[in-house]
Amino acid sequence: MIEKIAIVDDDDIFQFTTKIKIEKAKLAKDLLFFKDGDEILNYINEHYAIGLPDVILLDINMPSVDGWDFLDLYKDVAENKKAAIKIYMISSSINLDDVRRAEQSQFVIDYITKPIRY
């Protein structure tokens, strides 16, 4: 079981349905919710000494700092603070440009399209 999963998505229905799925599958001990890239970055900056999430489920389309912006900003964090979080991009987009862009990021483990099936 994973210690801590962070869901970064401004869509509360996605947050809710994903939370149910993770709980049912007993995937994680702890779940964190963030509305955009800015919020999770703040959290990482404040908690990197105490304990970071093991996995981030990252949406693309969010107000303010979106998924791509987060990946750009996370680069600094990963380098300076030796953070090594497994990031999964989760988006409604089936656009190939998005899929390729995610594959090219060194931090993204996989690209998953919504809705998540199991």
Binding site: I13, F16, I60, S92, S93, I94, N95, K114, P115, I116
Partner: protein
């Protein structure tokens, strides 16, 4: 000498003797003892006494064989040149530049102009040209100009329209040269009919124009295609993100309910489905609006009083303006009226001003400055505010996107600028933004200058 020469000589001497004349000369062929013929001129001069009676005559013979040979050679040479000139392909005309009359012409000139040699001699400068050339120049002054140039030693070569005897105009190329005689007072014109060349040039030009037209059409089409491709990509992106997202949510919610179909969960499901369907409808309506704008080939055109346009926007936003103590300054720089779509302009201005008011800095009264002016081929409208600004390094690509917001305002839907951009583009305009965080934003709209009513 021959009998005939001998008789002639005796007859002529008779005249001298009787005193009809005092001297004469005569060409005589003398026959030498070796039977060879010596060509001579025989000069005879009579001498008379005081009473006028003939006393004696002095007769001299001069051998002229040499002169005769030269004369014949000269005649032959002149004939040769005459033949060459007469049969030259180009028409040749000789002008006496003191009298400004033609003094000679060759056969080609007769053929080209339709005048005989005798007729040419009656003609002067200007008689072989129409009054006005294709270039719009008066012929005669132009010819005199050419003449002046030729006399200073310039070889003139120019295109010229000539007029034939039957009045037909023929495009020609004329070369004129002052003939290099010691006491030269003549100019030689050589004239070549270039009708064929002109026709070919015309055909070539027509082809060139057609090609250029086709090329510009292709370029136009290409830019339209590029534009449509980028719009298609934009719609593909929107459908991928904005339409799939609520659809995915419906699926996820139904999965959740199927996994635990309790009454409590049904109520929860219905409540959420209500929200998702609203979301979906809004997105579809926004898209439909944009598709409508992009498909309207040309929006209806009205005469728009700019002052009234901004007044209408201010009226609609009066509550916010009062509430935030906002000021709106307008500087039209003398442009009072434009011809464009009133509906679109109302929407564009309202959206931009309301954005400026919405994203103002806390505790700073919003100040919006609107400026219009003409710049080259464009009508420019700038809307500048002192608001929160946009971090363009992060958000430049998103400013005009659908469902893109970069301020955490609750009422930010991220639709306005997307529609505004589509409307401006449908009016053949462009839009751009310049902004600094905490200093404010300036939106610039560029439209074709033709929309200004003067």
């Amino acid at each position: 000498m021959s009998d005939k020469d001998s008789t002639d000589l005796v007859d002529l001497i008779q005249g001298v003797v009787v005193g009809n004349y005092e001297f004469f000369d005569l060409e005589l062929n003398l026959i030498a003892t070796d039977k060879s013929v010596i060509q001579t001129i025989c000069f005879v001069r009579g001498l008379y006494d005081k009473s006028g009676r003939f006393t004696e005559a002095i007769i001299t013979f001069q051998d002229i064989a040499h002169q005769v040979r030269s004369r014949i050679a000269l005649e032959q040479s002149e004939n040769r040149f005459r033949v060459i000139v007469e049969n030259a392909a180009e028409a040749l005309l000789i002008l006496d530049y003191n009298t400004l009359r033609y003094i000679d012409a060759n056969c080609s000139a007769e053929r080209l102009f339709g005048y005989t040699k005798q007729e040419f001699l009656q003609l002067g400068v200007g008689d072989l040209s129409p009054q006005i050339q294709n270039t719009g120049d008066q012929s005669k002054p132009k010819i005199l100009q050419f003449k002046k140039r030729v006399l200073t030693g310039d070889d003139g070569k120019y295109e010229w329209s000539i007029r034939r005897k039957d009045g037909v105009l023929v495009p020609s190329e004329i070369r004129s040269v002052k003939l290099p005689f010691a006491e030269s007072r003549i100019i030689r014109f050589s004239i070549i009919d270039i009708s064929d060349r002109k026709t070919n040039e015309q055909l070539l030009n027509q082809e060139k124009e057609k090609l250029e037209e086709t090329n510009s059409k292709l370029l136009d089409l290409n830019s339209k295609l590029e534009n449509q491709t980028s719009q298609l990509k934009e719609f593909a992106y929107i459908s991928s993100h904005n339409l799939r997202s609520p659809a995915g949510n419906i699926k996820a919610l139904l999965d959740f309910y199927k996994g635990d179909p309790s009454t409590e969960n049904l109520e929860f499901l219905l409540e959420k489905l209500d929200k998702v369907s609203d979301d979906l409808l809004n997105t579809i309506n926004d898209l439909a609006e944009v598709v409508k704008i992009k498909n309207e080939i040309s929006a209806e055109t009205n005469s728009i009083e700019l002052f009234e346009l901004f007044e209408r926007a201010k009226d609609s936003l009066s509550q916010t303006i009062r509430g935030k103590h906002a000021t709106i300054d307008i500087n039209l720089n003398g442009i009072s009226k434009i011809k464009s779509s009133k509906t679109y302009f109302d929407s564009i201005i309202l959206n931009l001003i309301s954005n400026s008011l919405k994203y103002s800095k806390e505790n700073v009264p919003p100040r919006v400055e609107i400026t219009t002016y003409e710049l080259g081929q464009h009508f420019i409208m700038k809307i500048k505010d002192n608001g929160r600004g946009i971090d363009l390094e992060k958000y430049r690509s998103k400013v005009f996107g659908l469902r893109k917001t970069f301020h955490k305002n609750k009422d930010a839907r991220g639709v306005g600028l997307f529609i505004t951009k589509a409307q401006i583009e449908s009016l053949d305009g462009t839009t751009d933004v310049d902004s600094k965080v905490d200093e404010g934003s300036t939106f610039t709209i560029k439209l074709p200058v033709e929309i200004i009513v003067k």
